[in-house]
Amino acid sequence: MELTTQLIASGLLAGAPYALAAWGAAVALGAGVLNLALGAFFTLGAYLALEAAARGIPAFYAAGPAAAAALALGAGIERLFVRPLRPWPLASAVVLLAVGVAGEAIFFFVWGGAERSVPLRLSVVQIEHVVVAGAELFVTAGVTLGVFALMALARHTRAGLAVRAAGDSAEIAAASGVHVERLRTWAFAAGCAAAAAAGAFASPNTPVSPSMGRAALLFSLAAAAIGGPGLAGLFAASLALGVITNSAAGYLAPQWGVLVPALVFTAAAAWRGSSLWGRARA
């Protein structure tokens, strides 16, 4: 029972950062793009967190610089590769996959292929029999606040209205004076930035390696698949998936940490078919 409680608590805390990456996947889908490069941005955030930790700075402080770097990179990638290929979703997905693979190769040459771990430098909190790291609580609280802030922005601001309008009908939004292409560029870049921040937040809980982004990509796609386009659904799906993945990895084998998101994404896509992405919006 104690182990179950511990696994559920750890799963909830581990799943929270992935909500950001899942939002990155969903926001790209809202613009009609399957962002298979998302894992590379997640890895970028994790490696920047590793560098921060090596200099004595808490890992999650790297989330800001990582997000800024990913925002610039994502905007460039969208402008160079995604926008010209927007009418062809397969072509843009294939190019983004290649970008992700190229990112893995760069990480390999810069940081090597060995798995590394990011140390947790903050104190440990014990609640009854459940032990959690203070940093994880801090990150989860931050992500939760961030999700609610994004929901408020989407619902109550003109920018949010423009994003939702562009997601519903690009033509009508353009006729209303919304610069849809610019909006899509920044939405894509914001998704990349969110994934990089997620990588920095999640880095203390997972081994850092050049190919770590593949599991994160599957996790975010799975959360987007079962959580739907809404932020609340994405957040709940990420937490649920975190608990399931953590429990499976804890009770069975660590490999289930990758296997569960892959199976969930595959099953959700097969079950819901192409309508999976039809309702997706930023």
Binding site: L29, G32, L34, L36, F81, P84, L85, R86, P87, W88, P89, L90, A91, S92, A93, V94, V95, L97, A98, V99, V101, A102, E104, A105, F108, G113, P210, R214, A215, L218, L221, A253, Q255, W256, V258, L259, A262, L263, F265, T266, A269, A270, G273, S274, S275, L276, W277, G278
Partner: protein
Amino acid sequence: MGTRPRMKGAGAARLRPAKTPRAPSRAGSGWWVLAGCAALPFIAAGLLHDRFASSILAVAGLKGLFAVSWLFLAASGQPSLGHALPYGAGAYAVAFLARRLPLESSGTAGFTPAVLTAAAALAGACAGGLQGRLTRRLTPALIAAVTLATVQAAHSLATMWTAPVMRGVSEADTAIPVPPFPAGDRGAMWIAAAAMAAGVLCVGAVLRSRAGVALRTAAADERDAAALGFDAPRLRFVAFVASGAIAGIAGAFAAQFAGRVTPGLFSWHASLFVAAAAMLGGPFTVAGPAAAGYVIAAAAQIADVPAGVELAFFAAVVAAAAVRDPQRVLALSFGWNHRPPASRVPEAARPGTVRTADAGAAGR
């Protein structure tokens, strides 16, 4: 005067027959030259008794077979990026049977390798069928993503089979020994050459037959296929099964030649390899992808290229193909020399195409 009257302007455009997917070309003199060039190293290595060259050519031949197996998927308009799943399933079926029964290659006069290879073909067909079943309602972009996810899932599953431990190989803790077949490198080389040639001939014959026409029609327009009496969803499923069976055979030979299986068989590397070989060789032909796969595998072994660099190269080739001809990337009608004009209506937005119309919905 014996000449057909010519029409000009819009009338000519209306009467022009609709563009249909091109059939794979019949083997012309150029392909016989290519076949001769491909056979030359095998003959030279056989005459010179060079074990190094023989082992390289054995692997290259298998990679050629693996590459050509993907063409059924390209012909049916299913851009799978998870073809490593049936390849690895075939290899692991060999390992599983060899350890459970247990079978040995010696003492049964070659019967055991045949049984193992048949079982691998069945396993590959099942894995391909699973992918076909999972992706039957998906758009091309989602087919690529889901098939890629199945490979990652299979890799994780394979790493859980940890006994027995083999030392001295990559991924040592998860390598499973397999009875080696055949005994020498020269035998392996000739078997691989025969398998690749048989694969090219079989796939070419199927793609030029009525079944091939049906596959291409199903890929181009589901309603046209239905009007012609073809069951497009069933054809697409059969394409996954057939390509999986051939990939399973390639995986079985790869496992038996190497004497082991490792989780690395289920990799993005192998999945992107077939797509890159098809794009480089030209999926419009059948011998082209096989030749490209053969050359890439041989060159990578001779130059000892790291797997990461190979993966980046494969991804770059596929990305270049996507940029060059985005409408037909990973399809049988892809061409490096063709680029649609910018004003052309994308396939995803064209009415009447069921699968591509879904792609349009996905792109909303």
